[in-house]
Amino acid sequence: MSVSARILVLHLGLLALLFVLQFVLPPYHHGNIARIMVLASYAIGYNILFGYTGLLSLGHALFFAAGMYGMGLTIQHAGFAPAPAILVGILAGAAVSAALALLALRTIGVAFMIVTLMFAQAGYLTVLYFGEYTRGDEGFVIQAAQRIVWGIDLSDATNRYFAAWALFAVSLIICLQVVRAPFGRTLVAIRENEERVRMLGYDTFAHKLSAMVLSGTIAAAAGAFYGLLFGYAGASFASVQYSILPLLWVLLGGAGTVLGPFVGTVFMFYLIDLSSGITTAHMLIAGVALVALTLFAPQGLVGEIKRRGAKWLP
């Protein structure tokens, strides 16, 4: 089997497996996997910027929240139907990520991390400041009646799973296509040696800008879906915590691999889920996992597999 065919079989196989899985899963895990697929889409968006372009952002919660509130506020206060509201959320994410990219891409390294962190924090505080509309930390519930798209009730578990699966499939395929296209190859080249790429005549700024907007838009789509599918939008989704989580998932699964974000999200989700059965200290486990990863597996799970033989993994 050629490499290209192998890649297609693996990724489409995963999508098919997830599609079939919902018919056999017990209700509890059924709900978990739906949630994981939305969060993994967020991680896929994050990975395009961090894993492939080599830009470590600590502010992706800003894009996630832009999607969530772009969707939630238009439903809540402007009486939009869910489908156009999702579109508003995605456009809000694209606009916010483009604006932040124009500022933050003037910096590199640690400064880039801090600039993204600062603007995301300003975004979080802005959500709190306009508590009259956003209801701040408390958040607001999107009623089941407001979550019906073209006659499909998204508060129903099966429909919710399908919607989450569709989002995940689209994100995964976009990521797979992007990283195998010349554009994605250039991003990897920028990650490895930006000076050389510039010397070869590429406009590295334009590439990084596009990567950040694509990354932010996917994150916003995930945010909008998360709010709509689970019927809630709150300020905690804009907090630093939600900027660090995708970083954690991607690092755990393997930065710069298409499947890494999904594997990392599943791993982390069930690690916390299973450990919270034993102890309430799930943050402790996340902390230990992070420290252990930086020490022992800087490549992540899929990254380790790739390094130890499966070099064809995209």
Binding site: V110, A122, M283
Partner: protein, 290 residues
């Protein structure tokens, strides 16, 4: 109250904030300047200092002042020891790689937060300061018979707050003197140029670090982001810049909080930091890094 006393009150509150911010930010600035790593868990070390201070003060019998002094001595030492341990077991092993350091210190942040929650609990507990008299402040107005002093209602501060400002100024002066006048300071400045050497001087850094935690221990510990602000606005690694930035942010935070809203003050401060980094990455006072 009229506007005048109001502004004085806001300035005083701001000055206390500025004092504490300056102390913590100087610790962070030292670590960044000398070791070139950003410690995301810095705020947690600060919190840990406060928590240990509470334990020491609480379980030390005798006069309250005794417990307070013991806390002031023990908390910095214990936190410093922990920071040294983290440095040797984790940061040294990842060779102070900037990105991996950030990830590892985020991990540390979670661990410290969770352990504190499990042992100490989420509620705030005060450390009893040895003196805390309320001092009413006079204000004057021009009446019919010349200048007239009076004490407006609500315009007051406490002796402890003034002592905090004084202590902060003393420690800052001490740090500055250490950096410019002593051999240790000379060595630390030398390490800015040679990262390899930073390890050898880890302990002075952590000690300064820890003194900072202990002194700020009694005050509000919910400032997680503000330390970064000072350091960035002042210029990474520039001590005078950091102090000036702390004073600017502390004072404006106090004044905007009193007149508008604390959230708005934080939003403006955060945006300011972001924009300074974008348009003046060396900070307002820093020199451009090599």
């Amino acid at each position: 109250m009229e506007l005048g006393p109001y502004i004085l009150l806001a300035t005083l509150e701001g000055a206390v904030t500025a004092a504490v911010l300056a102390l913590t930010a100087v610790g962070l600035s030292l670590v960044f300047g000398v070791m070139r790593v950003v410690n995301i868990a810095h705020g947690e070390f600060f919190m840990l200092g406060a928590v240990i201070a509470w334990y020491v003060a609480h379980y030390m019998g005798g006069h309250p002042a005794l417990g307070f002094v013991a806390a002031l001595v023990l908390a910095p030492l214990l936190v410093g020891g922990l920071a040294v341990a983290a440095d040797m077991t984790i940061l040294k092993r990842i060779e102070y790689d900037p990105e991996r350091t950030i990830v590892a210190t985020i991990g540390l942040l979670y661990i410290i937060q969770q352990l504190t929650l499990m042992t100490y609990g989420p509620e705030a507990r005060p450390v009893e300061p040895p003196f805390n008299e309320r001092i009413a402040l006079p204000w004057f107005e021009f009446g019919e018979d010349g200048r007239d002093f009076y004490y407006p209602w609500g315009l007051s501060t406490t002796s402890y707050k003034l002592a905090v400002i004084g202590a902060a100024a003393a420690v800052l002066a001490g740090v500055w003197a250490m950096m410019t006048r002593t051999k240790v300071g000379l060595l630390m400045r030398a390490t800015q140029a040679d990262r390899e050497m930073a390890l050898a001087f880890g302990i002075p850094v952590e000690r300064v670090y820890a003194i900072v935690f202990g002194i700020g221990a009694e005050l509000d510990i919910n400032h997680s982001f503000l330390y970064l602000f000072m350091v960035i606005i002042g210029g990474l690694g520039s001590l005078p810049g950091t102090v000036v930035a702390a004073i600017i942010i502390g004072l404006s935070d106090g004044i905007i909080s009193v007149f508008f809203s604390p959230t708005l003050a934080k939003i403006l401060a955060t945006l300011l930091v972001g924009l300074v980094l974008v348009f003046r990455p060396q900070g307002l006072f820093g020199t451009r890094a090599a």
